[in-house]
Amino acid sequence: MSNILEAKDLNVEYLTRDGNIKAVDGVSFSLGFHETLGLVGESGCGKSTIGLSLLKILPINAKVSGNIFYKDKDMVKMPDNEIRSLRGKEISMIFQDPMTSLDPIMRIKNQFFETIRAHFPKMEESEMVKISSNVLKSIGIDPSRLENYPFEFSGGMRQRVMIALAIVLNPSLLVADEPTTSLDVVVQLQIMEVLKELKDQKDMSMVLITHDLGLVAEIVDKVGIMYAGNLVEFGDVDSIYDDPLHPYTQLLLVSIPNVKLEDMKLKYIKGNLPSLKSPPQGCKFHPRCPFAMDICLKADPPTFAVKGRKVKCWLYKGEKDGSRKTDTASIG
């Protein structure tokens, strides 16, 4: 068992009245113990769907195929009661919007108790208070605020409470879905600092889902770039930021607004994300790609291993024999 999490050829399809939407299309990645993975992409690229499928909390109209191995057990086939014992205790999640993901009419205290009781029904209340106070303290909130209701907290504080709730039972895997998107820059920095400390102090792996490549640079070990349901590039953080291979990654990196004075020109990716109901033929990125070739219009590129990374782009067809660092299977 070398990896805590391994997804193999994961497909998620939403069945809707006006046709099926393929939100995740043949995604494979792996995450080692005590590692942090950043899943990056625009809205609608399927990154949140992957996050939800890791906890198996997808909407009812979702059809999943492929495998997700968590500590060598396949979660896709796992029965519900077994999953339930994992959720919150082994794998937990921080959601995007702290305003809507806390129960507004429950004291913070009781929200902690609810989580703990789900796994340890016989625990004494004094014990639960002790555990919750310690977690709150570690995240920078005074334990006396356990008695408060969510509306008495500011946005940043609420997100801290969400994080505390997620880590109260010491999970081995934490999935954070856009944890700072609804917060402003200063608070965003504070929350990222909290996550960074968690990563250093606890024995925990993390999946960070975000649309901002700039935000995750300092904290993640591996990066997966998603586009229209595909994982287009996957590799370790330094090489991806130093030398992005996929054209989409390159464009994403230059389009981040920065505060450097010498760089006053606005750069952006032309066009919009394609509809997942009727994706373009061939490579899904070709209508926006500056390097599109004839073959890109016709056939969907397979994933090539280049320089120890995985790239789903025809540009790297010839360079197939790059040194292979990861032992994960290639995507079909």
């Binding site: 625009e42 809205s43 609608g44 500011s154 946005g155 940043g156 504080m157 402003d184 820059v185 200063v186 608070v187 965003q188 920095l189 504070q190 990222m192 600092e193 649309h211 901002d212 490549l213 700039g214 935000l215 640079a217 300092e218 993640v220 953080v237 330094d238 930021y241 464009l251 994403l252 990196l253 389009s255 981040i256 607004p257 920065n258 505060v259 004075l261 006053m264 606005l266 750069k267 952006y268 990716i269 032309k270 919009n272 994300l273």
Partner: protein
């Protein structure tokens, strides 16, 4: 329109906006009323064709400034001179007629479009309200503006907002704001809800619209990085006050106020090797009900001295820029 050669389109003097707190009627007799002091004595000018950035955290009062300027809120005190009319003084029909000259683009494109109104009708609605043109002229005008914002009219005129992506919706909202050819547009956190990759597209569109239609913007944001590309001058706001106001180039070259420095350091850098400890502010913006004594920023300021907790600094000229900080009290002594 008068042909007077004035350069100021908008001039705000001592603008105040206090929201009264609800108190129980028992207490209402004895104590003085308490207020949320959202905007507290603000003065600034915006020239014709200029883009002024208003930057600050949530809760600093920047949205209230925007809403008050276009009179969605009535100011508690102060003057808003728009060309030669004091917007703070007019109301009713005279204000309503004036409204076609100033528009606002709101933060959330999902919430600011009527879900039951087709895109074309939504964009043409301001023309209808101000009785500009007849039906066919209005439709022509909408087609024209849809083209300008990069949405092919044949395809988008009859669509509903739910069929559009976030970026496209924001384009519709921008089209609706500029269709009456306003002189002044308040853009409130236009890019906050959008993905990083779409953000630059929308900023570019705003700049294009400005150049084509000769607009003047108040660009409200919490993200200094996006303000850099579009603003000519930037005003940094903290807890209802402007703490620094300067040309964009100067602010980015050397931020003077400690709060500006913090905002600057908060912009994430896409480089995994930058693992140095950053200048991270502790705590959060205090409540505008109990504003700290002296300098409003002193409880969070790393350079705070005794004076800061006692005397409130005024906006002062430091090397041709305006800063409200005691650090620069003696001729820019640092």
């Amino acid at each position: 329109m008068d042909q007077e050669k004035q350069t100021q389109l908008l001039s705000v003097r001592n603008l105040k906006k206090y929201f009264p707190l609800k108190v129980s009627w028992l207490k209402a007799f004895s104590k003085e009323r308490s207020y949320v002091r959202a905007v507290d004595d603000l003065s600034f000018e915006i020239k014709y064709g200029e883009t002024l950035g208003l930057v600050g955290e949530s809760g600093s009062g920047k949205t209230t400034v925007g809403r008050t300027l276009i009179r969605l809120e009535s100011p508690t005190d102060g003057h808003i001179l728009f060309e030669d009319v004091d917007l703070a003084k007019i109301s009713g029909e005279s204000l309503r007629v004036k409204r076609q000259h100033f528009q606002m683009i709101f933060q959330d494109p999902m919430a600011s479009l009527n879900p039951y109104m087709r895109v074309g009708n939504a964009i043409g609605h301001p023309l209808k309200i101000h009785h500009i043109g007849n039906k066919s002229e209005r439709k022509m005008h909408v087609y024209e503006i849809l083209n300008k914002v990069g949405l092919p009219p044949e395809e988008f005129y009859n669509r509903f907002p739910r069929h559009l992506s976030g970026g496209q919706r924001q384009r519709v909202v921008i089209a609706r704001a500029v269709i009456t050819s306003p002189k002044f547009v308040v853009a409130d956190e236009v890019t906050a809800m959008l993905d990083v990759s779409i953000r630059s597209q929308i900023l570019k569109l705003l700049i294009e619209m400005k150049n084509e239609l000769g607009l003047t913007y108040l660009f409200i944001t919490h993200d200094l990085a996006s303000a850099k590309y579009i603003c000519d001058r930037i005003a940094v706001m903290y807890l209802g006050k402007i703490v620094e106001i300067a040309k964009t180039y100067d602010i980015f070259k050397e931020p003077l106020h400690p709060y500006t420095k913090i905002l600057m350091a908060s912009v994430p850098v896409p480089d995994p090797k930058m693992k140095t400890k950053k200048f991270i502010p502790t705590g959060e913006i205090p409540s505008p009900i109990n504003i700290p004594s002296g300098c409003r920023f002193h409880p969070r300021c790393p350079y705070a001295t005794k004076t800061c907790s006692k005397i409130e600094p005024e906006l002062k000229d430091v090397n041709g820029r305006l800063v409200a900080c005691h650090l620069y009290d003696q001729n820019g002594k640092n």
